[in-house]
């Protein structure tokens, strides 16, 4: 892995007291390649390598007895720091219900994650309401209703002939009169370049004033993840990210890309298809995983 490759490069340091420019560039290249192979966006990888360079040519490395290991440690530290803090907290609205809006590309895991978050909240003694605002995908409403039945969590639906903004608005009213303290709005998957559908999300946001707008991202996403995250963030000002399908074998570099380009925290991870498979985001574990 990257560790061994950096050890090889820095073993040349022994007895020389100083690394050549060529050796430093070779090491940075190895770091960039490792990140690219892990699907970190190529610009984010370049910026990250530049960050590491400053420390890699510093005394902590050059005077170390194990310079290669020291560089690996630096890379891991910088990566962990960039990932943000460990957290699994949803902000609470001062005026309940707290509205959580789930957004993202097609197939990323929004509907399943809506069910997971609702179950997680229920486990904390809260009274969540799910809203089925995807009127486009065949059987999307049914899918959310099945998840609601499995967990004994109510699902608000007005069928697929009512527009999603109206559904979300009425769901909020329903939550208020029903004493639900959380409203989780599941929306249809959409492309960030579909202006009409991005506008629809803005309209839902304007009508329901969500405390959390969670961008649901597939952990196996590639270079395009930055474009998607930037666009959703620009349109809506997201409050956080959920990274799904981390039970797979993807290195998950999209996590770094999305964090770097939006600055928003990764709050949860999806680690399976079952509704219990929701975990907090662990930045150091993610860093180790990306480095491989």
């Amino acid at each position: 892995g990257l560790g061994e490759r950096l050890q090889d490069i820095f073993s040349k340091l022994k007895g020389k007291g100083k690394l050549s420019e060529a050796d430093v560039n070779e090491a940075l290249r190895e770091i960039r390649v490792a990140l690219l192979e892990a699907d970190v966006n190529y610009k984010v990888a370049k910026d990250f390598a530049a960050k590491v360079k400053e420390r890699a040519v510093g005394s902590e490395v050059l005077q170390s007895l194990t310079p290669g290991q020291q560089v690996v440690k630096i890379v891991h530290e910088e990566l962990t720091a960039l990932m943000g803090a460990q957290q699994a907290k949803l902000q609470v609205s001062p005026k309940p219900p707290t509205v959580v809006l789930m957004v993202g590309l097609q197939g990323s895991g929004k509907t399943t994650t809506s069910g997971k978050i609702a179950l997680w909240l229920k486990g904390q003694g809260k009274r969540p309401l799910l809203a089925a605002a995807d009127i486009y995908r065949p059987a999307a409403i049914k899918q959310l209703e099945v998840l609601g039945e499995k967990t004994d969590i109510p699902v608000f639906s007005l069928g697929d002939q009512v527009n999603p903004v109206e559904i979300a608005t009425r769901a909020l009213e329903h939550a208020r009169t029903n004493g639900n303290d959380y409203l989780i709005v599941d929306t249809a998957g959409r492309l960030h370049i579909n202006e009409e559908l991005m506008q629809e999300l803005s309209a839902i946001r304007d009508k329901t004033n969500p405390t959390e707008i969670l961008l649901v991202v597939d952990a196996m996403a590639g270079q395009d993840a930055v474009n998607v995250a930037a666009a959703f963030n620009e349109q809506l000002e997201i409050s956080g990210v959920v990274l799904t399908k981390l039970d797979g074998d993807t290195r998950g570099g999209a996590a770094l890309s999305v964090k770097a380009v939006t600055g928003k925290p990764i709050k949860f991870t999806g680690t399976g298809e079952k509704l219990e498979a929701l975990e907090p985001f662990y930045p150091d574990r993610m860093a180790s995983r990306i480095l491989g």
Binding site: D39, Q106, G107, S108, A139, L191, M220, Q223, A254
Partner: protein
């Protein structure tokens, strides 16, 4: 964008960056720029505007270097298409599109709802069957996928269908028990429809990064894959990872998904795809 430039290391690096941004991956990008350099040297190319067409040509060659490009229904026998892939890639929707295409050509199409696991999976495929005007074989939730497939094979054979399309549950390639389930489905089909022409296609989301390589590898170890479907190419992701897959495992892209509507299906055109990668 690359006309009137000096052909130097910077230019090659810029080309490499374009490939990497398109999810072509480090190794394949290097292999492609290496081929490019070689041809520039051999053909004594001095005009930088010629680099892009050469690169497109090299990519197209990698994508078509196998004998199984394209897809034709074999006349006079049952054709079976098994769609496999990771969760959310677009299998069920793609089946709806393919069903509609062949049903529209007057072919007798049958669908098998062998995803008996995910919430409302059967309802979703049933809606597509309705839209495509085809029949569907399905059982209750939690039914054994093998039982659905068994049923579907017998129905397809006795009804003399032209095409049976099998929908399977999304699964991550590192889940051994789910890969075993896929093997079992393959065996049932081989046993219950021995005269059929069977293809298994791995459905890939164009937004997937290098993990697609692992998907092709591990799905390919569980079942014999004959092709890929690349979905969601209507987005901004380029899907360049299929070049590496073609180069490594000779798996051709059969069709592409370009939207959520029933007609948003295209045959794969390698040259068009390679050209668009630079777009």
């Amino acid at each position: 964008i690359f006309s009137g430039r000096r052909i130097d290391a910077d230019l090659y690096e810029e080309l490499e960056d374009i490939l990497i941004q398109a999810d072509v991956g480090v190794n394949t990008s290097l292999a492609l720029t290496e081929r490019l350099r070689k041809r520039v040297k051999e053909e004594k190319i001095a005009d930088s505007s010629q680099l892009k067409p050469i690169l497109v040509q090299e990519m197209t060659e990698m994508l078509t270097a196998n004998e199984k490009n394209g897809f034709e229904l074999q006349p006079g026998r049952l054709n079976i298409l098994i769609m496999v892939g990771v969760n959310g890639a677009g299998k069920t929707t793609t089946i709806g599109k393919i069903a509609s295409r062949y049903s529209g050509e007057g072919k007798k199409v049958l669908l098998a709802a062998a995803d008996t696991f995910r919430a409302a999976a059967t309802e979703q495929l049933s809606e597509w069957a309705k839209r495509a005007g085809t029949d569907i074989i399905r059982q209750g939730e939690g039914a054994d996928p093998g039982a659905v497939v068994f049923d579907a094979c017998h129905s397809a054979v006795s009804r003399k269908c032209d095409l049976l399309i099998v929908d399977t549950a999304g699964r991550l390639q590192n889940k051994n028990n789910l890969m075993e389930e896929l093997k079992k489905i393959g065996k049932i089909i081989a046993r219950e429809a021995p005269e059929a022409s069977v293809e298994t296609w791995l459905v890939l989301d164009a937004g997937t990064g290098q993990n697609a390589i692992s998907q092709a590898k591990l799905f390919g170890e569980a079942v014999f894959l004959s092709g890929l479907v690349l979905t969601k190419l209507d987005g901004t992701a380029k899907g360049g990872v299929v070049i590496g897959i073609a180069n490594e495992s000779k798996l051709p892209v059969k069709m592409i998904g370009v939207g959520e509507g029933i007609d948003d299906l295209r045959e794969f055109d390698a040259q068009e795809f390679a050209t668009a990668l630079f777009g």
